[in-house]
Amino acid sequence: MTLSQGKLCTILSVIALLLFVVSVSIGRDSLPLFAALKDTLAGTDSVYSVILTQIRLPRALIALVAGATLGLCGAAMQGLLRNPLASPGLVGSASGAAFFAVLVLYFGSNIVPPYVLPLAGMFGALLATALVYALAGRDASVTTLILAGVAINALATAGMSLLLNLAPSPFAVRELVLWTLGDITDRSMSDFWLMLPTSLIGWAMLVGVGGKLDSLTLGERTAQSMGVNPVHLRWRVFIAVSLAVGAAVATVGMIGFIGLVVPHLLRPYVAHEPGRLLAASALGGACVLLAADIGVRLIPTDSPLKVGVLTALVGAPFFLHLIVRSRREYL
């Protein structure tokens, strides 16, 4: 099953690239892709080139970046906590981002300019992580950190419920609920440029943690004796995940299961090595979100399907399957 790192990443990159091209090519109505490309390259502002560059391109780019973030952060969290059930949402950043985005929708939906929504989401993600830090303390153990994350998650969820409860009209409720479902429809290039820097900072912070996560396989003490500072590593991963996931959630809403299932799925192909899993899982996450976002456009439903709903629908049973399979293996 194991593939060399180069081979695996090449395969996944090719799949991601293909899905990216498909994502740009499909929509409700077919787009004469070559005409669109020709117009774009010629600098002609035709309807086709606008659809290509300002509607489909940002959508595919955001799916790529958000998917990669979820896959990467899932793998990093699982490696850090040495637990295959860890997810990027554990640090509280996803729900923090969602809560602040919903807060903006609730109070300022018609007053504030559109870029305030993702910015508020990212702020919420950071605030959630800061609160986890304040709750758990600098030298907190992994268990304390998870507990603090759970507490922050609960607080953010309670806040969202409160806003839903107090929403002025059924229309407002609908808007708030739909936002939390996770969707990449009709995002613009400005949304993409807004999420990119924070996502890249998060990714960059995870560059080079692979070897440390590998060492962590032998436990925190042994890893420490092998030159890993566990406290530094913990915060580095937490803050990175908070930045990248915060940016993703603030832009596309809550998209579950990618961060949980993708690392799980790819682990056998990297010989279970947490370090190698990072890059593979990032590419895999990008593939899955691109595919899911293509799926919601192809599956005919009365109301347009939200991509977060699709990933959860496919992800949950798949996760059950993994659990059953692993149970059989250990019997």
């Binding site: 032998l218 003490r221 030159g227 010989a271 090595e273 947490p274």
Partner: protein, 257 residues
């Protein structure tokens, strides 16, 4: 002959319990030194202090004559390897890959294994008799096999100082012997090894010097024959023993006192 590792009057208190009480000891190149004492004496804690994994409350630990907490982590991990008593293995990596992790202290984040690294890994696998386990899932090993693998991981790091916490406790007779011979062989030239042992016969037979601790305090130190005197064993372990063997010394407990 140079002092590789030493503790100067180190103490550690946790939850109002004195775990290590003013202990000074040293490890000189070419030496295999045993650390013995009853359960709960503070052997593992002392080893953690000496490995720089836990900061001392007072006193200092010097590695290569430098304060161990001031040496950069990576540099420290190249000089000193520590083998946990029963370290966890969290992912089903192959034994070979676990042993290869031993090279991490010598590699930067992106460096691949060089021929030199591979040679060190091959040596460690062969020396610990892990050849047949090489492609096995490390999470499925028996306790003894796992200990050998973890020892191989430490050896692959090619440290100058090896600290091993009860490496032979879970091993069968053959592998006990092999491991002690391996540690003996390792602790020569510029290297030194400090090993926590429960088997006093093995300690007697293989170690150059012994430290005997009880309730966090150093009770005796020196040649095995001096440290493992009847009086010391009675005072510390509370047992009466039979000793013998000449060149192949053995110590067998007879009865409680």
């Amino acid at each position: 002959m140079s002092v590789l590792l030493q503790s100067i009057d180190v103490s550690l208190t946790r939850s109002e319990r004195v775990l290590v009480n003013h202990v000074s000891m040293n490890l000189v190149s070419g030496e295999l030194v045993g650390l013995v004492g009853p359960n709960g004496a503070g052997k593992s804690t002392l080893l953690n202090l000496l490995a720089g994994l836990v900061k001392t409350d007072s006193g200092a630990v010097l590695l290569d004559n430098k304060d161990i907490n001031k040496i950069p982590l990576q540099q420290k991990s190249q000089l000193l390897a520590w083998v946990a008593q029963s370290g966890p293995v969290n992912w089903p990596l192959t034994v070979e890959r676990i042993v290869a992790l031993g090279r991490r202290p010598h590699l930067s984040a992106w460096q691949r294994l060089t021929d030199e690294d591979n040679a060190a890994i091959e040596y460690a696998i062969a020396a610990t008799d892990c050849e047949s386990l090489r492609h096995q899932d490390a999470t499925t090993l028996s306790g003894g096999e796992r200990t050998r693998m973890l020892l191989a991981r430490a050896l692959a790091a090619q440290p100058k100082v090896l600290l091993a916490d009860e490496p032979i406790a879970a091993l069968d007779l053959k592998h006990q012997l092999q491991t002690m011979q391996l540690l003996r062989q390792f602790a020569s030239g510029d290297n030194a090894c400090l090993v926590v042992l429960h088997d006093l016969s093995m300690a007697y037979r293989f170690c150059d010097r012994l430290y005997l601790i009880n309730e966090g305090e150093l009770v005796a130190q020196g040649m095995p024959s001096d440290v493992l005197s009847d009086d010391n064993l009675k005072a510390v372990y509370g047992v009466e023993v039979i000793k013998g063997g000449g060149d192949l010394p053995y110590i067998v407990p007879v009865r409680e006192l």
